[in-house]
């Protein structure tokens, strides 16, 4: 791999230990994937923020890099709790203490402590063709597909290494030749709400191993729909890029039939709801919306459904979103309506990375296939995957309806 004199000097340690280690990570990955050189990144998004996933040694690694500083705008993945309202969530105090150590460690590195899987809804959206190093898998798929930015699916440490060096290795999805669709997926399924896009994403992720799908027949693809689809596709498989005819910016370059053909119909979608639900009846402890973080549109829809109602006293209804979106939802009155109905709008965290297993929850309803894929293993909890409207109904009744 070609390295500039300046990069060679960093590897010799001339700009300090942290920068040397971070560049070693970038170069090591580049060597592994046959990159020809390093390229600058415009932003990074770093996973490994919840103490639940990062752990003690991950935290020590982040702490060890100070006093190095991020040299490009860098934001964080969700933490394990609302950084202000964690007591209300029932997060244990010792967890909260460690979580705040993680946040402070990133702060010292000059990372912007926006803890969100949807930074693109909160002021951090890369432009078309821009090279970035993001690690949240749903955001990776979203910015590659919907915005046409370029990022590989980074791990937490490699995204952090890109933040400190401002560089990534030129391989994978940074290169034109690796962004071409390799299979056509024809949709005849009718897509209703966001959970249908999530179910479709789940199917795509499962069907497409090492394949970039070209979707034909999507009725629409709003920001929220692309967000739901991206998250599920990245969770059930490892999808980091899709093209959708008529909607995504790079799809225009690839008109005409390519590769293998797949088909998704109504029955396929219906099966996903059954496959991902681990229980069919009974009491639900928690209804959780916001995987990925809820948008203003979703909070508005929730407020409309909850206006003047009261959720069951035996169930919690939690929304997860980013801090900037919540501030706006407060101004517009949505948060007030939701919380009067007994729901809560939390920021900075989500139902996957919060320590739910330590908080007494055993059953959860979600409208996100991604949450349904991860929660049973990440938090040893039973899940129901259903539509947004049914999730709200479950919260009102306190049980599966």
């Amino acid at each position: 791999m070609y390295l500039t004199n300046e990069q060679e000097a960093i590897l010799k340690g001339e700009e300090g230990w942290a920068k040397k280690k971070c560049l070693e990570i970038i170069v090591g990955l580049g060597e592994m994937y046959g990159a020809d050189r390093l390229i600058p990144v415009a932003s990074t998004q770093i996973s490994g923020v919840s103490y639940k996933t990062l752990g003690e040694y991950g935290l020590q690694w982040v702490e060890s890099l100070a006093p190095a500083k991020a040299v490009v705008p860098s934001t964080l993945n969700p933490a394990g709790m609302d950084l202000c309202r964690w007591l209300e969530m029932g997060v244990p105090e010792d967890f909260a203490e460690k979580q705040m150590r993680v946040i402070r460690a990133y702060e010292r590195l000059g990372v912007i402590t926006l803890c969100s899987c949807t930074p693109y809804l909160a002021g951090f959206a890369p432009r078309f063709g821009e090279h970035v190093a993001w690690s949240e898998s749903s955001a990776v798929c979203f910015v590659n597909s919907f915005l046409g930015a370029r990022t590989n699916r980074e791990g937490g440490p490699s995204a952090l290494a890109s933040a400190i060096t401002g560089l990534t290795a030129n391989y994978g999805l940074h290169l034109d030749e690796n962004r071409k669709p390799t299979a056509v997926v024809k949709l005849s399924a009718k897509l209703g709400g966001l959970s249908d896009y999530s179910a479709l994403g789940y199917l795509l992720g499962k069907m497409m191993q090492q394949t970039i799908p070209y979707l034909r027949g999507l009725p629409s693809l709003s920001v929220d729909e692309a967000k739901a689809l991206s998250a599920a596709a990245a969770a059930s498989g490892n999808l980091a890029l899709f093209h959708a005819e008529g909607f995504t910016p790079e799809s225009r370059a690839y008109v005409g039939e390519v590769g293998e053909r797949f088909h998704v119909d109504d029955r396929d979608l219906k099966r996903v709801y059954e496959e991902l639900s681990t229980i069919r009846s009974g009491k639900i402890d928690l209804v959780a919306i916001g995987c990925p973080h809820a948008s203003l549109v979703e909070l508005e829809a929730a407020a409309a459904l909850l206006k003047g109602k009261k959720i069951s006293p035996t169930t919690k209804l939690w929304f997860f979103t980013s801090l900037p979106v919540k501030v706006l939802a407060e101004r517009l009155g949505f948060v007030d309506v939701i919380e009067r109905a007994g729901g809560k709008v939390f920021t900075d965290c989500c139902m996957i990375v919060a320590p739910l297993e330590q908080m007494g929850f055993t059953t959860m309803a979600v409208n996100s296939a991604k949450a349904a894929v991860y929660a049973p293993t990440a938090s040893k909890i039973d899940v129901v995957f259903t539509t947004f409207e049914k999730c709200v109904d479950i919260a009102l009744e306190g049980r599966l309806v």
């Binding site: 990570i25 991950g58 690694w61 791990g155």
Partner: protein, 130 residues
């Protein structure tokens, strides 16, 4: 003496006794991070410790948390001295670089046995069996 060419992933040089696994290893799940013991019951190395060994295995698998688990092992003094893989993957690569553990892959031949005395010279892309 045998000299086997390989590809450097994480720099450095180390010497020790081989621990050979014919099966993949995931640092998240296969290894106990507090003892370095292989805890996955169906694994061929079940019950053995990877600490201080030249760990040799075909490929990795599993969660990205694996990088931090390898780093944690090294912080506790329980890391392998070097790692040889048939084909490296990013989780182990990043973990090895963070932990200053030499890591090489794609050796010309993958004919190793546990107990062999091995030198891994990642910087020169060589595995030496004296």
């Amino acid at each position: 003496m045998r000299v086997i060419s390989c590809r450097k992933i994480s720099p450095g040089r180390a010497e020790g006794l081989a621990l050979f696994s014919p099966a993949p290893i995931s640092f998240f799940g296969t290894i106990d991070p507090t003892t370095s013991e292989v805890i996955e019951k169906s694994h061929p190395l079940y019950g053995q410790r990877i600490a201080d060994k030249i760990l040799i295995y075909p490929t990795g698998r599993g969660s990205t948390v694996g990088s931090y688990i390898l780093y944690g092992l090294s912080k506790r003094g329980l890391a392998p001295r070097a790692i040889i893989m048939k084909e490296a993957e990013p989780i182990v690569a990043v973990g090895a670089i963070m932990s200053d553990i030499p890591l090489v892959d794609r050796p010309e031949s993958f004919d190793f046995k546990s107990g062999l005395h091995i030198i891994v010279d990642a910087d020169r892309g060589k595995i030496i069996i004296p």
